[in-house]
Symmetry: none
Subunit: 501 residues, 2 copies
């Protein structure tokens, strides 16, 4: 191993250990920590965060990275090592221009803001969150300003953090294509809204039995409990310490059967990605998904393309019926499949169906662009939000809690993150057509044999972690970069058939 | 605040943050982490341990501690600050002679060893754990060797870590006194073994209902769920991030009602100690119990002296009967009290009654002494163990799982720790006679009013954390240091009465 690379590894080991600790604190605070613990625990988290920052952003690391970028050194590095150096340079460049005091102040702000947001949402009081939102947006503009390149849009700096190589120019084309296909399609679907009945979904479903079924279905999809944990939290999420310890959460609503089932399949998709990252890189900066969009492609592939297909449910629907015999005795497999795919425009992104989901994302994308272009003041966001919901989805939020205040993301400083969800859906559709062409995809599902599907994803996507970026993965797998046409085709075919349009 | 002390605080904040992270990893690995996670997680733990080591053991801290020990500086320190400096000096002296590489290697070893031990115990295969045990013992001998003082026994170095000021000379006297009183007393008790029936305890008790009752009884004793967590693990234990986040675990056996109940009362005793540590010191090196023995005195005080008394059960026995009406319908309060105090020599320390408990400890103490004196090879430990059980308790382990492999302690590197349990029992008895003399102790229990008892312990023991040592606490509270006569008196009185000897 290159001597200089070995030196870099020492720094990396430390930052990975600190990062792992921070992940564990985060997991613990969302799943278990007692109500009054946070104030004192936050002190330790603050100190470890700043240790993490210092472990990466220092003169030693800078000079090692500079040396490792020279041609002679590059020659000595293997594929993974090159990827690690590249990823680290990216992280370094994202952070190095931020003065430590500003970094610390911003970390404190986004540690506090989710609590403020949560209260504002609960009390339906946007003005109490607005000043925090403004400050967060200003920090993000400022931080982006430190590293914006000549001719680059400020917002593009953030987009590129979540999805390397993507910018507003490309995303405008992407979203225009999606919007112009979905908006008219949705209008047709809405007209036939009564065609699909799913009252059964809102009966009473005993939570313990939901848990039992969700644990079963997660393992059926491939979750390995010897290398993972399933717990509960207010909002389902996935996290990991490394590929031998991947954790997902679920939430349960007594009067909504679908919610927990599709949440757990979604998180299992994320989890399989992390469980399948190659062991050689799991404890390195590339030991995680390639990007947010790529990650969402996997969760959505399992949740929607697999999980909402008839083929998937053929072997397991009877088990669901056995779990809830009273509630599901009069529901046939076919009406269940229709029910779980029913499209109804609504106010809440996390409850959106496949067809309307991207419209929720487009609204957020357009608003973020406006903020960064100085075309929307924080004060006017609720009105802009509501107007767009009316225009694209035909629904109007009765309150800001169901409108501008519904998502936690901005309060955590995740700006430029939402587009990843739509990119993920589009990638999932593209992968689907590819896999369907090269393997007996639906037969596998009908036989309850998901292993060949996971195995293919592992070999072509998961195992690489972030050592390749999104388009590199797609090119190597399918000889084609991201192409939204597949997504439009998928939604059009699916909903035309479902609603007999 | 002294300028030098402020500088020390910066180091302390970092080491406290790292220590808190290590506590969380430990908690997680024993309650939740998936089976296969440990090998990779151990790497992060190893690195954070060595960061922790470096945060304390460095020239800066050494010189600050030296300065703060000077008379002029001492004058500027308040009581807590002096205690923190003193405790830190002790920790510093314990660690400074251990080379960092050895420290890290040892931390990784004891992160892995409990998993090996657990498997060996499950498979009743001592030889697969023996090499790890040998390595752990060798490290401990080596580390003790680095700091042994002239004329001091190697084993005394470790004893002093857990119980400041205690050594084999004193403990030999202590244990001889206990042994010579208990062994003959136990022989009399065994003769009347049939006098107390407790078959009811081994019926089937639904685990969910056990959990429900245990959660109730823990809160009844004083556990505050807004500042704590109750979870499950193979062996019950207590840990804490700080006084606002104290965590205990329990375990459940379908065919043993007592096991979970007395485990949870025991751990609640530990938890109250940690929850009551003063907020001014909770995030400092003295923000925990004074010593292992002092900690055990509190858990045993609640488990045995309170929890096995008739007064305690008068207000709550009916609730237990309501929880298990079928199983307990023919059990009177009096026969229940006799049942939970019945003494039967058995193989397992954690299932031992009050009378035989110290004999289990004496065996471990004698074996540890032999190992450190080079009088017992790791290979021969099972035979030595079995022979001693036969001699002191009259029982012989049918397998190593029920013998030498029963305790987790050695696999965690806790050598010299077992005597603390017996010291704890002795302190608990001494405190009992003191409190009974100054307050209507049993009336409080009969009224279900435990607050004045906890409050007294908080004011005289808990709130000080480790800012006073064991004998300082006992002296300030009762004008007398540890005196094992109370313990002998307590057991003699109790069992003479119970068995009508």
């Amino acid at each position: 191993m290159s001597e200089i690379y070995s030196k870099l590894m020492k720094h990396l080991e430390k930052s990975t250990a600190l990062e792992t600790a921070l992940v564990l604190f985060q997991w613990d605070s969302e799943t278990l920590a007692p109500e009054k613990s946070m104030e004192l625990t936050a002190k330790s988290i603050g100190i470890l965060s700043s240790e993490y920052y210092n472990s990466l952003i220092n003169e030693d690391v800078k000079s090692l990275l500079d040396k490792l970028s020279e041609e002679d050194e590059q020659k000595q590095l293997d594929f993974n090592q090159k990827a690690i150096v590249k990823k680290l340079r990216k992280t370094f460049e994202e952070m190095e221009h931020i003065p430590p005091e500003e970094y610390q102040a911003y970390q404190e702000l986004i540690a506090k803001a989710p609590g403020i947001w949560s209260k504002a949402k609960q009390e339906n009081h946007y003005p109490s969150f607005a000043p925090y939102l403004e400050e967060i947006m200003n920090y993000n503009k400022k931080f982006a300003g430190y590293r914006v390149k000549e001719g680059q849009e400020l917002y593009d700096v953030l987009l590129n953090d979540y999805e390397e190589g993507f910018n507003t120019k490309e995303l405008d084309v992407f979203f225009d294509k999606v919007k112009s296909a979905i908006v008219p399609l949705l209008k047709e679907v809405v007209k036939k809204n009564d065609m699909i009945k799913k009252e059964y979904n809102y009966e009473s479903f005993e939570i313990d039995k939901q848990k039992e079924f969700c644990n079963f279905i997660s393992q059926y999809v491939g979750f390995d409990l010897s290398r993972g944990v399933i717990a509960e939290s207010a909002h389902p999420f996935t996290t990991k310490l490394h590929n031998q310890d991947v954790r997902i959460t679920n939430h349960f609503l007594e009067h909504n059967l679908e919610s927990a089932i599709f949440s757990i399949i979604h998180e299992t998709g994320h989890a399989l990605y992390e469980m399948n990252v190659d062991s050689a890189i799991t404890l390195s900066p590339v030991g995680t998904g390639a990007s947010m969009g790529m990650h969402e492609s996997q969760s959505r592939f399992f949740e929607n393309i697999i999980g909402r297909s008839k083929s998937f449910w053929i072997p397991v629907f009877s088990k669901l019926q056995e779990t809830f015999p009273e509630q599901l005795k009069d529901v046939s497999l076919d009406s269940f499949i229709k029910g779980i795919n029913k499209s109804v425009p609504n106010l809440i992104r996390t409850e959106a169906d496949e067809l309307t989901y991207s419209l929720h994302i487009i609204i957020r994308y357009e608003i973020e662009k406006m903020i960064f272009a100085g075309e929307a003041s924080i004060h006017h966001l609720p009105a802009i939000w509501n107007q767009k919901y009316k225009e694209y989805l035909g629904v109007e939020p009765p309150s800001d809690s169901n409108g501008i205040l519904q998502d936690i993301h901005w309060s955590c400083g995740n700006i430029g993150y939402f587009p990843s969800y739509a990119i993920g859906s589009a990638i999932a559709a593209q992968i689907y057509y590819h896999m369907e062409a090269i393997m007996p995809f639906h037969s596998y599902l009908e036989e309850g044999n998901l292993a060949p599907i996971s195995e293919y994803l592992k070999e072509h996507i998961h195992k690489y972690g972030a050592s390749k970026n999104t388009n590199e993965l797609l090119m190597d797998m399918m000889k084609e970069p991201l192409n939204p046409d597949y997504y439009v085709r998928y939604l059009t075919e699916k909903y035309t058939k479902l609603y007999e349009l």
